[in-house]
Amino acid sequence: MALQTLDIQRRSATTTPSPGVRQTTEVAKLIDISKCIGCKACQTACMEWNDIRDEVGSNAGTYDNPRDLTENSWTVMRYSEVEVEQGKLEWLIRKDGCMHCADPGCLKACPSPGAIIQHGNGIVDFQQANCIGCGYCIAGCPFNVPRISRKDNKAYKCTLCSDRVGVGMEPACVKTCPTGAIVFGSKTDMIQHAEARIVDLKERGYAKAGLYDPQGVGGTHVMYVLQHADQPELYHGLPRDPAISPMVSLWKGVTKPLMSLGLGLVALAGFFHYVTVGPNEVGDEEEEV
């Protein structure tokens, strides 16, 4: 049961069942915010490993840069200056990015076969070759993570370095993290590690320290240790109870099979247009909107 097993467990928009006999270990990345110094080494290692470079932007009066996730920034630091206790300043810095939900809203929402897959170890990966750029994954994501590229009109996000994990290594951000705020291993081990960290934090006066592994999305394969687990919103609006949008659930659960029938004939023409001409081009004039 190696961590690196990349058996595919689920594919978007595919009814053919995935092979399910082999039992693989679930992996997880644990981000301990109490140890994070917000150095952005993870952002750098992510861009470097994945051969992506965001734009050289500008400073908007904060340390956050790039300012948001993009197709070239699959992870960014979110800085929040808060005073939970009067007079005691805290600088909470959260590494934002894909949470690799056990029940991924993006995958559920994705209409393109095999564009989003979930590996047996829990990694949720986008397969750009199959992506049609519809953006449903964005609507389906309770954490607002995927981004569509203006260059190729395909969706991108953190892959949890499935290429590295696939050969038995840890993700690039995990390896580089100078303070060990990001650790990686089996989900069981990560939960255990988090428990020890929480004991330490409580001893240091953070009575509400806890683990963020939200059950609304079936738990996640990227988890946080929070000093104030009772107030996840403090961490740049980390959702308290994330869940897949009811619209996505509805679409997948009931509407889609019915609609599919109705749409079938109408769509054939569109399909052949798509496979011969390719996805709709995005006009420059629209990007200005």
Binding site: S34, K35, C36, I37, G38, C39, K40, A41, Q43, T44, M47, E48, R53, D54, E55, V56, G57, S58, N59, A60, G61, T62, Y63, N65, P66, S73, E81, E83, L89, E90, W91, I93, P178, T179, G180, A181, D200, E203, R204
Partner: protein
């Protein structure tokens, strides 16, 4: 560092003050997080800003830039008045018991011997009382009012918590809380470690900032202990190495020093440096100075260096004063320099008062820039609009720009802050025609030598006489140079105790500096590196990361100077009887059965010096013990005293209004007038580095430019409100020397402080932008900084000066 990066994990309390380890040294800082995780350590951060180090601290206290001695002096007072010191350590391992010269005195901000005209001291009275036997007089009972301990107590009695708070702006309770936390480590089995960097050095009292902390470490008994020590977190990958190699105006390799011009007599030159013990039975290791010096001369001059010609003593240049960079740029500005080389160095951005630096460079005849990157210095003559508004046609300097290789394209060793020499290998060729620094230096030297050989010229002796034993003279290899640094036997070295035994045969690499001799039979380019490339090969390339003691010592990883010792002064980790103060962190211990010091580290002591011999643990000091009283070593006094920055926001010194700033600091004419006053420039400016960037290099690297693309300054919410500034606005920051324009980051992390009855705001100025690079162009931050330095090292006062701000 006296200790090393991994050793930080052994500390109980970690104080980051005068530095920002999490941002400047993130991978070293991991050992702070390890200490917290596995040693239940507490992290304290004292800084004008709530930094990213503070973000993960257990306790943060704000402080006004430039008031650290007041804070630390107050801490000394706290430790003494609350009796929180390691008594036996202080009595046995420091000069607390030493009696001080009868004329030594301090009053109204000045020590005895001040000459106002010269802005310097006659230090005669800054000395110990000596007996008829030539040794220092002591009082083991600490009753004598003239003993160091009592003078120290008296000196710091003025630093009450109220006074500390009045000077530093640190609320009194916060100051006391920090004192309490640190005081707990006066227990023999507890340690504090202080991590500092430029936040302490870049002041007109920089050296004394560090000394004050060193005194605290002695009082707490933390020197030599695992998890203790004095840990300067050095800035560049080989800044430690270049310091070790003596690439400073007044130095030679291995902390040997150049002679002053008055030192015409070679024997007297050596005698002054071969320090005799001040107490009976002490090692005073510098007694070996002649061995190190002669071996260096043999390395440089080979057979030309003989006893008869004093090993070519005359060939070495003699100093009339120290030519530190401020002095050099002052001379350049006066038109007294003709040529200048910047090898991997960007002085236009790195030295204070950019306008003065640029004007000075413009007066040179020739400037040579050797660098892998296109630096601002190399284009100081070019117009970059508001960022560098000059007229090239008016600048007559001929500028040469030579491309050099970078780390990935070369082989060799670097010394980390832990004093570890680590070997690295080449991965690819450099772009275009770039050449390695050694090759460039060889190219210049061989051409010059040929010219002198053919044409003659001023004093060609040293140029013609320098050894150049390299297989390919135009390209000396790293291996050859590393072997030369280590040194070799020139003749068979016979054991002085046993003439039948040959310790090293002629031509063999030496195993350690203990083999060096002053009779010309050994050569070594840098004695402290001796042992790094022995007959066994290149020890700097060793890669065994085993940690047998569990204390993180990894003795077979690369090579640490001196003698592969990982914690220096480690004899002080044991009590006088040779037992570790804390058995849980045993570094070494006296083994009576074997009659030696044994342990996880190389003992910093004669290996067979039994405890009964009372050889003190500080073998590099002639006292054999640590100095709480600095005698004549410092320019401004034997005890650190709080002096205000040259640009002070409070116009006075609450301790002694008549002596405001460092009375012994050198200030050039003209620069005094360029100091601003608080009435016009009411805010404290302080420059610093961000974790996303490295000085002025990473703005050339796209990944880093993406992380922090644009120049900004940080101000507190109170100041922003008062000035009507919102986050993201562009603001103009001015000092008496110029201005910059940058984006405002408005933050809770910089607090307004109450200092001596005034409200003091700090303006934080990160330094990383300029007019070359792939990040957005910006102003060089040193446009603002004052041209004054520490009285001992001349390190510029970048950390505290006066500015004003307005919306741009």
């Amino acid at each position: 560092m006296t200790n090393h990066w991994v050793d930080i994990k052994n500390a109980n309390v970690i104080v980051i003050m005068g530095g920002n380890a999490a941002e400047a040294h993130p991978c070293g800082f991991k050992w702070v997080t390890e200490a917290k995780a596995h040693n239940k350590a507490r992290l304290i951060v004292v800084d004008p800003r709530f930094t990213r180090s503070a973000a993960v601290s257990d306790y943060y206290a704000p402080i006004r830039p430039g008031s650290d001695i007041a804070f630390l002096g107050g801490m000394i007072n706290y430790l003494l008045t609350h009796d929180k010191i390691q008594h036996e350590y202080v009595r046995k391992y420091s000069d607390a018991t030493f009696l001080v010269h009868g004329d030594y005195d301090f009053g109204d901000g000045l020590f005895s011997g001040y000459d106002e005209e010269k802005r310097s001291y006659d230090k005669t009275s800054w000395s110990y009382q000596k007996g008829a036997d030539g040794f220092v007089l002591t009082d083991e009972t600490l009753q004598n009012p003239r003993c160091v301990f009592n003078l120290m107590k008296q000196h710091y009695s003025r630093y009450t918590p109220e006074m500390v708070s009045r000077i530093t702006g640190t609320p009194k309770e916060q100051f006391l809380k920090v004192c309490e936390m640190i005081a707990e480590t006066a227990a023999p089995n507890k340690t504090t470690t202080f991590l500092y960097a430029l936040g302490w050095t870049q002041h007109s009292v920089g050296s004394q900032n560090i000394r004050t902390m060193a005194m605290i470490q002695i009082l707490l008994g933390n020197m030599g202990m695992a998890g203790g020590g004095i840990n300067a977190l050095r800035g560049h990958s080989n800044i430690q190495g270049l310091t070790d190699l003596g690439l400073l105006s007044n130095m030679l390799p291995g902390y040997l020093t150049l002679a002053g011009e008055k030192e015409q007599d070679f024997a007297a030159f050596l005698d002054k440096r071969a320090l005799k013990p001040l107490r009976p039975g002490q090692m005073s290791y510098w007694q070996n100075y002649p061995k190190f010096h002669v071996s260096l001369m043999k390395s440089w001059y080979g057979d030309a260096a003989t006893r008869e010609n004093n090993w070519c003593y005359d060939w070495l240049p003699k100093l009339d004063k120290v030519y530190d960079v401020l002095q050099v740029f002052e001379l350049m500005h006066q038109g007294k320099m003709n040529g200048y080389f910047a090898q991997g160095f960007n002085p236009l951005a790195s030295f204070p008062d950019k306008a003065k630096i640029g004007a000075a460079l413009a007066r040179l005849k020739y400037l040579v820039v050797i660098d892998p990157l296109a630096t601002e210095t190399s284009e100081f003559w070019k117009n970059f609009g508001e960022f560098n508004d000059v007229d090239p046609s008016g600048i007559q300097t001929e500028v040469f720009r030579l491309p050099s290789t970078c780390f990935a394209e070369e082989e060799g060793s670097l010394v980390s802050s832990s004093r570890v020499l680590q070997w690295h290998y080449k991965g690819a060729d450099a772009p275009g025609e770039a050449r390695n620094d050694a090759e460039i230096m060889a190219g210049l030297f061989l051409r010059l030598r040929e010219m002198y050989r053919q044409e003659g010229g001023a004093f060609p002796d040293a140029i013609l006489g320098t050894t150049w034993p390299y297989r390919i003279p135009e390209s000396p290899s790293p291996e050859e140079l590393a072997r030369e640094l280590n040194g070799k036997a020139l003749t068979d070295l016979v054991d002085p105790k046993d003439p039948a035994k040959v310790l090293a045969k002629a031509g063999e690499q030496l195993g350690s500096f203990a083999l060096l001799r002053d009779d010309g039979s050994t050569a070594s380019g840098c004695w402290i590196f001796s042992g790094s490339w022995t007959q066994a090969g290149n020890l700097m390339a060793r890669r065994d990361n085993a940690d047998p003691s569990g204390l993180g010592n990894t003795p077979d990883w690369a090579y640490a100077w001196p003698a592969n010792r990982r914690i220096i002064y480690n004899r002080a980790s044991c009590d006088p009887s040779g037992k570790p103060w804390d058995p849980k962190r045993k570094v070494i211990a006296w083994n009576a059965k074997e009659g030696k010091w044994l342990g996880m580290d190389v003992p910093d002591m004669r290996p067979d010096a039994a405890p009964e011999e009372n050889v003190g643990p500080f073998i590099m000091n002639p006292e054999g013990v640590a100095r709480l009283f600095a005698v004549d070593k410092m320019a401004e006094g034997p005890f650190p005293e709080h002096y205000e920055p040259f640009e002070t926001p409070i116009d006075t010194n609450p301790l002694h209004p008549r002596v405001v700033s460092n009375p012994a600091a050198r200030v050039f004419k003209g620069d005094m007038d360029a100091f601003g006053k608080a009435a016009e420039f009411p805010y404290v400016g302080t420059t610093y580095r961000l974790t996303e960037h490295f000085h002025y290099w990473t703005k050339h690297a796209k990944l880093n430019a993406i992380l922090q693309p644009e120049q900004f300054v940080e101000i507190g919410e109170d100041l922003a409100r008062a000035k009507g500034i919102s986050a993201g606005d562009r603001i103009k920051v001015s000092s008496n020397r110029g201005h910059i324009v940058a984006v405002a980051v408005v933050t809770k992390r910089i607090r307004m402080l109450d200092v001596d009855g005034r409200k003091v705001h700090t303006v934080g100025i990160p330094i990383h932008w300029g007019f070359k690079g792939v990040a957005r162009n910006g102003y060089l931050a040193n446009t603002l900084t004052p041209f004054v330095g520490d009285a001992n090292t001349q390190t510029p006062e970048f950390k505290s000066f006066l500015v004003n701000i307005e919306k741009a």
